[in-house]
């Protein structure tokens, strides 16, 4: 069945968020599927770190302002870590 647009958007959003946090905030995905809640917690923590860095509202959620910032062209050097 065709994927409902909202679900597709969610997928894209998650992909954007994960790759941004992986590139610039040292987010490491845990490759044990059964530890899903772990992953989500870590993602939320990293998202909060990114929101705090940019002075955005720290919600731990990919809200509009946060996604807007993630879509801005930027430097490839990570914001934290080496």
């Amino acid at each position: 069945f065709p994927v409902a647009p909202e679900t597709e958007d969610e997928g894209k959003t998650l992909q954007l968020v994960e790759s941004y946090l992986r590139n610039f905030y040292d987010f490491q995905r845990d490759h044990h599927p059964h530890l899903r809640s772990n992953n989500e917690n870590r993602l939320v923590e990293k998202l909060k770190e990114m929101q705090a860095f940019f002075g955005l509202k720290v919600t731990g959620k990919p809200d509009l302002d946060t996604l807007g910032m993630m879509k801005k062209p930027r430097c490839g050097v990570p914001d934290i870590g080496r």
């Binding site: 590139n23 062209p73 930027r74 430097c75 050097v77 914001d79």
Partner: protein, 367 residues
């Protein structure tokens, strides 16, 4: 500002650089000028010097690269990641890589090469990303006219903390990013714009939307790359859906959100005498169609329908508005006029013709 983890720095002040290749999107001379200007941004505030070398290894190797270029950090095509650089050190240390697939330019179109290289050189010298939105080392790209570029104070403080001050007799200083809740914040100009309020300060604009609690800080150039920084006066003609912006003896018109073609024009077109060199503040009364221009201790009144100055002006500000002093900025909202003088704001009732309130300049920002 933030140092790169481990505080890496060059152990010498006289560094070398080399341009390994060029982008076909710019003339070679323009690329070289952008590099030279970017290096000068940092040498101007530190004891560092940069000498160009050819045909041999330099401390800072500058190159344009495409996707995977064997440094474990592949580029991602147009937009997204524009460039990256490596911290001070041997080999790849200090090197700057620019994504060849970006639209590199020497002006406000695409991505300005000078701005991006100046940022990456900050990494080459040991700085990491700053969370100050006005800093050059802020991670997101933002355009500033290179002719107007000044290294912000946050970056000066950072690089001097690593390499010390410049050898110049007078230490260069840079712009500081305005903080909405800074009690000492003053404004260059203020205008309404389709229900929002725009507060202009240097190269920044603080934007206040009535439905949002936060105040948004942006570079003026983000919305209007062709406008200068340091706007001195502004007002909205609600009926015509226009905002007029003034700097020195010129003015621009925004129609909706876009700078109208054919501007700037001399302010004398509006009827100012040649003795007037700049406008300090302005507001337009939507009900009467009259616009008030404040210059030093006097003001002019302009009829928006006749499109000419009313006779009998200028008049003394104090005689008609009371003791509000020189006006830095003014705007009208919900029937009241708000005059800003330094960190003081006066609320003026144009019907009663008297001051009815006095607040701090930052009262609009929910501090």
């Amino acid at each position: 500002y933030v140092f790169t983890a481990g505080n890496p720095k060059w152990k010498k002040n006289n560094l070398t650089y080399r341009i390994l290749n060029y982008t076909p999107k710019m003339r070679q001379a323009d690329v070289e000028e952008a590099v030279r200007k970017a290096l000068h941004v940092w040498s101007n505030v530190t004891p560092l010097t940069f000498q160009r070398v050819e045909d041999k290894e330099a401390d800072i190797m500058i190159s344009f690269a495409y996707r995977d270029h064997r440094d474990n950090s592949p580029f991602d095509g147009p937009n997204g990641q524009l460039a990256h650089a490596f911290q001070p050190g041997e080999g790849i240390g200090g090197d700057v890589h620019l994504d060849e697939e970006e639209a590199w330019t020497k002006d406000g179109r695409g991505y300005n090469l000078f701005i991006v290289i100046a940022h990456e050189l900050g990494h080459s010298l040991g700085l990491s990303h700053s969370s100050d939105p006005g800093a050059l080392m802020y991670p997101a790209y933002s355009y500033t006219d290179p002719k107007e570029f000044l290294l912000p104070q946050d970056d000066i403080d950072g690089i001097q903390a690593i390499y010390g001050q410049s050898n110049a007799a007078v230490q260069p200083t840079g712009p500081i990013t305005p903080q909405a809740c800074d009690p000492n914040l003053t404004f260059d100009a203020i205008t309404t714009l389709r229900g929002e309020i725009m507060f202009f300060k240097g190269r920044y604009m603080l934007r206040k939307h009535p439905a949002r609690a936060e105040t948004e800080l942006n570079f003026i150039s983000l919305f209007w790359p062709n406008l200068p920084s340091g706007i001195q006066a502004a007002y909205e003609n609600v009926e015509r859906d226009e905002v007029l912006l003034f700097k020195e003896d010129k003015y621009w018109v925004l129609r909706g959100y876009d700078v109208a073609p054919g501007y700037p024009k001399p302010i004398y077109r509006l009827g100012f005498p040649k003795t007037v060199k700049r406008v300090n503040a302005a507001y337009s009364d939507e009900t009467t169609g009259k616009t008030y221009f404040f210059v030093a201790d006097r003001y002019w009144r302009y009829d928006e329908n006749k499109r000419s100055m009313d006779h009998g002006y200028p008049r003394k500000i104090v005689s008609d508005f009371g003791k509000i002093g020189r006006v830095d900025a003014a705007f009208q909202k919900d029937g009241h006029v708000y005059f800003f003088h330094g960190t003081t704001q006066f609320q003026f009732d144009p019907r009663a013709k008297r001051i009815v309130g006095r607040m701090k300049s930052i009262s609009w920002f929910n501090c």
